[in-house]
């Protein structure tokens, strides 16, 4: 699923797909995590989601190891080139409709640049639908990102400016 750039005319097909995803995954979502070469701190934050304090199960999200059972692929790491084949195979093993979420500064291209060993960003290999920044993204940020991915929460980034209005 690849929505169009913001500001352009969004084709209705992408809107339709997003509505379908919201309808199908809004109540129950199975997530498959994929580590493409990260330092594993993002994985620790992801693992915290199952702890009692954050408890993503109460929102209807579940982790599954089998891509055949997964709806959403949660990717961390800068996409090491050695992992490219496995990442593609995992993506192709997931039945449609499927959503790809890239999380962490590494996966968004913020830490490594493209070189002979690493792609630098997940978008170079897999079609990413939702980006979650952070280093690492806190579990709260991950929950918000997952909610945005299934259409349960509205995204806040278009409205953010990172400009501090007060003080001279």
């Amino acid at each position: 699923m690849k929505p169009g750039q913001p500001g352009q005319d969004e084709p209705t097909a992408a809107e339709e797909l997003r509505k379908q995803i919201a309808a199908q995954f809004g109540r129950s979502l199975h997530i498959r995590t994929l580590d493409t070469g990260s330092c594993a701190v993002c994985e620790q934050e992801i693992r915290l989601l199952t702890a009692p304090h954050y408890d993503l199960h109460r929102l209807g999200f579940f982790f599954t190891p089998a891509p055949r059972h997964a709806d959403l692929l949660l990717v961390t790491g800068p996409m090491v080139r050695a992992f490219e084949v496995a990442a593609r195979k995992t993506y192709e093993a997931m039945p449609g409709p499927k959503v790809v979420v890239a999380t962490g500064a590494c996966a968004l291209g913020g830490v490594y640049q493209s070189d002979p060993f690493v792609h630098g960003e997940v978008d170079a290999v897999l079609p990413v639908d939702v980006w979650i920044p952070g280093c690492p993204p806190s579990p709260l940020a991950l929950l918000q990102g997952l909610g945005v991915a299934v259409g349960r929460l509205a995204e806040k980034t278009p409205g953010l400016e990172f400009i501090d209005g007060g003080g001279a």
């Binding site: 500064a105 968004l108 990413v128 806040k156």
Partner: protein, 112 residues
């Protein structure tokens, strides 16, 4: 059921109510910076760009280009220019479009 029992149950539940309610622990999270355009000078911005360990900061003429997706919230830009940078407090940064994470901040500090 006695009130103290119900209160004890509520106090014993440690699960956060996020995203329905805000979580108090969010206040202590490291977050990307927010910039004060009037305090930003080209010299300060270039210093910040040199200090930033990643590609999050760059300058195009009189505009600071800030890639919130690439920011690791390390705080070095705030150390270099403390009067121009404060923590934004924003951690809900998920985006369905990558360009939406790239923000343009005008550098107004050189104008008098």
């Amino acid at each position: 059921m006695p009130l103290w029992f119900a209160r004890g149950l509520r106090r014993g539940v440690v699960t956060t109510r996020y995203p329905a309610r805000s979580d108090p622990s969010a206040a202590s999270l490291p977050t990307p910076p927010a910039f004060r355009p009037r305090q930003l000078t080209v010299r300060a911005v270039d210093q910040m760009i040199a200090e930033c360990p990643g590609p999050a900061l760059s300058r195009v003429a009189g505009t600071l280009v800030f890639d919130a997706g690439a920011c690791t919230a390390c705080g070095r830009c705030a150390r270099v220019a403390p009067h121009a940078v404060t923590p934004s407090g924003e951690f809900e940064l998920a985006s369905t479009a990558r360009p939406a994470l790239i923000k343009l901040i005008p550098i107004l500090g050189d104008q008098r």
